[in-house]
């Protein structure tokens, strides 16, 4: 271990090369060398009322998603968790501000017929009412569930003229195109099991469905996105700051032939079209499992983490290429974010990465990267003990592993997940859906010290509201400026691995105790700056010249 003067930069002997005991010693040394806060993440799923597994045969080797969103109007994130061959479950969040995480299963919240075969969930307010709806990805018919009060959902496929198909769906993304009242939906499909020669080279096409015209949403006219290459994650992304999101897909090379990663141009009123070589798109072939997007350098051009078997890619737009071309460089190695094999334990085989998500889990103002890991099932050439990664962003723009130090290095096969503040204390908690193992629920206790957890940096959580269409402002950009630092977040539905979030957007602000927020609304309009104090939940309504703060329910009653 070499500690430089800039102690955020840790030149570590790869822990994967060490014996277990030596690795533990190295971990202690690394704690000392890590300058930034390392969160204490305590696994308390059973105690918090979450008992759930993602199970099933081959079709459920992939998937295993979770949606975190509010389904009962209290603004606390509730959870819908895929069960694979088992039943999906809905859990209502009963936590109180800063208290222990507490959930209750919502019996009957999800309708019969949509509970089994579920690979993932994405929350989305599809019909612009007061309740968030749910997109249910399944092996077989996909389902759209209309949200009602008190976490009650009803099937809406027929009302929406939505044909859920028979495919094996594993990815989803949504966007609101210009002038549209209702969202455009994209479904990513995996192997077509009924095709000749399956599974090899038989990836299903993916689907783009624009809303029909009319006062109520209808989804009767899908566009097949051909060819499909077994998408395991997709996201609408404004990759070139054009204001027109394109559809990025990450695809699993395990099953495609002559496939690659894909980016689809989705221009309003025109059929989606894949970027080609002539557009500058370069062939990248990975076992693409999950996408996470973040604008790490706040230049308006997002970076993408792509999980895979072996190394994770961290792509940034190549600044030496034609700026109109989607040419990407992989900077994962340079930034210490490859996460290519287990960082602890004796298993030196390559990793298998799934859900990826950027957020600032230690509130130091730098984005961190969570990656769920786990062997597909029993693939002998890949690590069997493959703990999830927590790559903390360092002050020089790199990443350093803190999975073992934080407490998340469990011997479970991770799939989907969510990095989200569940007890509204400003510190991000972590949910990981595991294959054939209990869901992991980690409560963030604060930064590790010798005397116990201590508070971490400052934070903000921001909720955007619009009247009329697109109430949650999907597609909006949030700029949070403190001093010279600008932190950028997007409101997006998609990405990760079969897992989505809707609700407060979290921003760590480090030592900044106040910030100026500007919103680029989905229609391109920039807001005036809003001045807010850190460590608050901020609700911003489009058109309003003032914000409102929101306060979570507390345990004790005063007066």
């Amino acid at each position: 271990m070499i500690r430089t003067r800039k102690t955020g930069v840790v030149l570590a002997i790869s822990a994967a090369c060490l014996t277990h005991s030596f690795a533990q010693e190295a971990a202690v040394a690394e704690t000392e060398a890590l300058a930034m806060d390392v969160p204490v993440l305590e696994e308390i799923a059973a105690k918090a009322g979450i008992e759930h597994r993602y199970t099933g045969p081959w079709e459920h080797f992939v998937g295993g998603g979770v949606a975190t969103f509010d389904c009962n109007g209290d603004r606390l994130p509730d959870m819908a968790i895929a069960g694979g061959a088992g039943e999906a479950q809905l859990f209502a969040n009963k936590s109180r501000a800063g208290g222990p995480l507490a959930f209750e299963a919502v019996e009957g919240g999800l309708p019969e017929g949509s509970l089994k075969g579920v690979t993932g969930f994405y929350p989305l307010n599809l019909d612009n009412d007061d309740h968030t709806d749910l997109i249910v990805l399944r092996v077989g018919e996909n389902v759209i569930l209309k949200g009602g009060p008190d976490c009650r959902f009803t099937r809406a496929n027929r009302a929406l003229a939505f044909d859920g198909g028979r495919a094996w769906s594993t990815a989803f993304a949504a966007t609101f195109e210009p002038e549209q009242e209702f969202p455009t939906l994209a479904f990513g499909n995996y192997v077509d099991r009924s095709a000749a020669g399956s599974p090899w080279g038989t990836c299903h096409d993916n689907v783009l469905i624009r809303p029909g015209t009319g006062d109520v949403p209808t989804y009767a006219e899908p566009q097949m996105l051909t060819p499909g290459f077994c998408a395991l994650s997709m996201i609408f992304t404004d990759w070139n700051r054009s204001g027109e999101p394109a559809l990025r897909m990450t695809n699993d090379r395990q099953y495609y032939r002559d496939g690659e990663e894909q980016l689809w141009r989705v221009s309003p009123g025109r059929p989606a079209r894949a970027y080609r070589r002539a557009d500058g798109w370069k062939t990248v072939r990975i076992w693409g499992m999950g996408i996470a997007e973040a604008d790490l350098d706040a230049d308006g051009l997002p970076e993408y983490a792509l999980t895979s078997m072996g190394d994770t890619k961290l792509q940034t737009l190549d600044d030496e290429a034609d700026e109109a071309s989607p040419v990407y460089r992989d900077v994962a190695f340079a930034k210490g974010a490859t996460a290519h094999r287990p960082y602890t334990g004796d298993d030196l085989k390559p990793s298998t990465g799934w859900h990826a998500e950027f957020d600032d889990i230690n509130n130091d103002g730098r984005q961190d990267l969570f990656i769920a890991k786990g062997n597909v099932e029993t693939m002998p050439d890949f690590a069997a003990y493959d703990p999830d990664n927590l790559l903390l962003g360092t002050f020089d723009g790199n990443f350093v592993e803190a999975g073992a130090l934080s407490g998340i290095a469990l011997d479970r096969r991770g799939r989907g997940g969510a990095v989200v503040d569940l007890n509204m204390d400003g510190m991000l908690d972590l949910v990981v859906v595991n294959r054939e193992a209990p869901v992991s629920l980690f409560q963030n206790r604060g930064a590790h010290t010798e005397f116990g957890p201590r508070p971490m940096g400052n934070w903000l959580q921001i909720e955007l509201r619009q009247r009329g269409a697109n109430r949650d402002a999907v597609g909006a950009t949030i700029n949070v400026k403190s001093g010279n630092d600008t932190r950028v977040r997007k409101v997006q539905i998609g990405g990760g691995h079969a897992s989505g979030h809707l609700g407060f957007i979290h921003v760590g602000t480090g030592v900044a105790e106040r910030a100026e927020i500007r919103i680029k609304w989905p229609d391109g309009e920039w807001s005036a700056p809003y001045r807010v104090f850190a460590n608050n939940f901020v609700v911003i309504e489009k058109g309003s010249d003032v914000v409102q703060y929101w306060y979570p329910p507390e345990t004790d009653k005063l007066r």
Binding site: R5, D74, T394, F395, R454, V511, E513, R514, V546, Q548
Partner: protein, 477 residues
């Protein structure tokens, strides 16, 4: 480099000897050493309510730091860091170590806070230039488009001021919590008046879904934290202000904000000195400032002055000065917790250390003479309300001479100046550019306009009496 932990006997001002835990330099400095800081206080060495000898020892060390003329051997200078309160790198090295505008602009705390004694205010010559320093780190002009020029405030009674602000913040936040709880319970919006210690801060409206409307809040930040320090009332605590000032004015960077935890570096300002001031060092400075005695009211030996001051005290009330310059606010507790309860990350917080200390101000001699009301509360004679007011209007705008807002507070909005000690701290006004009380009273516009007009309507003898009264509010020497 610090190499060892040991304990050092420090002779406290009360002539008691007490061991104060400290971190010593490896070598013993020669008596002629050009260092100003010979050892550092170890925060881990003290916790809980400090005994009088412990407190005295800490205060004594704080006094040495407050008076210290920091040198480059201590870490003075910040060649690659700006004056900003959020650690910010310069794009290029500062062209000069000292520079009156962007700093370094002082060699020691006491080089500005010295009138009439150490800890006091400063003349116009030691005005400081307040700029958040993110984009204009190297400004070298007094043009107000780059910074706000501010006079140096005195620090006497600062511990009591912070304690008042803490209690008032608790009051306001309790009103908020109750309004939210009631709104959730009843399903109906609750509009509540924010009032603490008789000072009103507007209203809030709590909604059943937990949302809080902020637009009617008046004179306090939207998080309902009273920030009692600086001319604007934008700094939460002595500790926060101290950390800011040590970097801004001296380039001495405390670890609690500029250390590796928040910057990734132990030498953020790149002056080849690591971890320049410890948690304990800052605590000692806080202890010294927090325990400075409050200014008082002197009784003139001149009988005419005595009589005039007595008459002036009545005038002060009748023309409305006392509506903002409230003569005294009640304080429940003299226990000064350091770190305090309201600071945000970047200033040491209570739960960040095992060794938070309590400075019991009632142990101090001056505390014995503090007036108390019937409820036993200390009546802190600060002549202020710890509230911000707009101080200009269309006709009277002398206090609107700044061009930059500061930390969300508009350019012509200032916290009520506490008048205790005002008889010792001319010149006046936030820029220190008014030489007489008459000038500064006449500069009151906006929220102070009615009192100003009432003052102008006074007979000469009453105007003179008011000034006689203000002249009795002095810092004891």
């Amino acid at each position: 480099m610090r190499q060892s932990f040991s304990r050092l006997v420090i002779l406290a001002t009360a002539s008691l000897s007490i061991t104060l835990p400290h971190l010593a330099y490896g070598e013993t400095p020669a008596p002629w050493s050009e260092r100003a800081v010979f050892e550092h206080v170890d925060q881990a060495g003290f916790a809980g309510v400090l005994s009088k000898p412990e407190l005295d020892a800490l205060i004594a060390f704080g006094e040495t730091l407050f008076a210290a003329r920091f040198t480059t051997l201590d870490g003075a200078g910040r060649p690659m860091a700006t004056q900003a309160i959020i650690p910010t790198k310069r794009k290029r090295a500062a062209p000069a170590t000292f520079q009156r505008m962007a700093g370094l602009d002082g060699n020691s705390c006491a080089s500005c806070h010295n009138d009439p004694v150490m800890g006091g205010a400063g003349d116009f010559t030691v005005n400081v230039f307040v700029s958040e320093g993110f984009n204009n780190a190297d400004f070298d002009t007094t043009d107000p488009q780059f910074s706000n020029e501010r006079n140096t405030n005195h620090l006497f009674g600062a511990g009591l001021v912070e304690l008042l602000a803490r209690e008032m913040s608790v009051d306001l936040q309790l009103i908020r919590r109750n309004a939210l709880a009631l709104a959730r319970e009843t399903g109906e919006a609750q509009r509540a008046t924010l009032v603490s210690k008789g000072v009103r801060f507007g209203r809030i409206t709590a909604k059943p879904d937990g949302l809080l409307e902020l637009k009617e809040i008046d004179g306090v930040d939207t998080d309902l934290v009273i920030r009692p320090f600086s001319q604007k009332g934008v700094m939460t605590s002595l500790r926060q202000f101290t950390v800011n000032a040590l970097n801004h004015h001296h380039g001495m960077q405390p670890v609690e904000r500029f250390g590796a935890r928040w910057t990734g570096e132990t030498d953020f300002d790149e002056d080849n000195k690591s971890d320049e001031l410890t948690l304990g060092d800052v605590s000692s400075l806080v202890a010294w400032q927090a325990t400075l005695p409050p200014p008082g009211q002197m009784v003139p030996t001149n009988v005419d002055w005595q009589n005039a001051a007595k008459q002036g005290a009545e005038v002060f009330q009748t023309i409305g000065c006392a509506s903002c310059h409230v003569p005294a606010l009640p304080l429940n507790s003299l226990e000064f917790h350091d770190p305090g309860p309201l600071d945000a990350a970047g200033t040491l917080r209570i739960d960040e250390t095992q060794s938070g200390a309590v400075y019991d101000l009632s142990l101090l001699d001056w505390a014995q003479n503090l007036p108390r009301n019937e409820q036993g509360q200390v009546m802190v004679p600060l002549f202020g309300d710890l509230k911000r007011h707009k101080m200009t209007d269309r006709q009277i705008s002398a206090f609107g001479n700044e061009l930059l807002s500061q930390r969300f507070v508009e350019r012509d909005v200032f916290q009520t100046t506490e008048l205790w000690g005002v008889g010792s701290t001319a010149p006046y006004g936030h820029r220190g550019d008014m030489t007489t009380f008459d000038e500064v009273i006449q500069a009151h516009g906006g929220a102070g306009r009615d009192a100003r007009e009432a003052y102008l309507d006074l007979e000469d003898v009453d105007q003179s009496a008011l000034i006689a009264y203000l002249k009795t509010l002095v810092i004891e020497q």
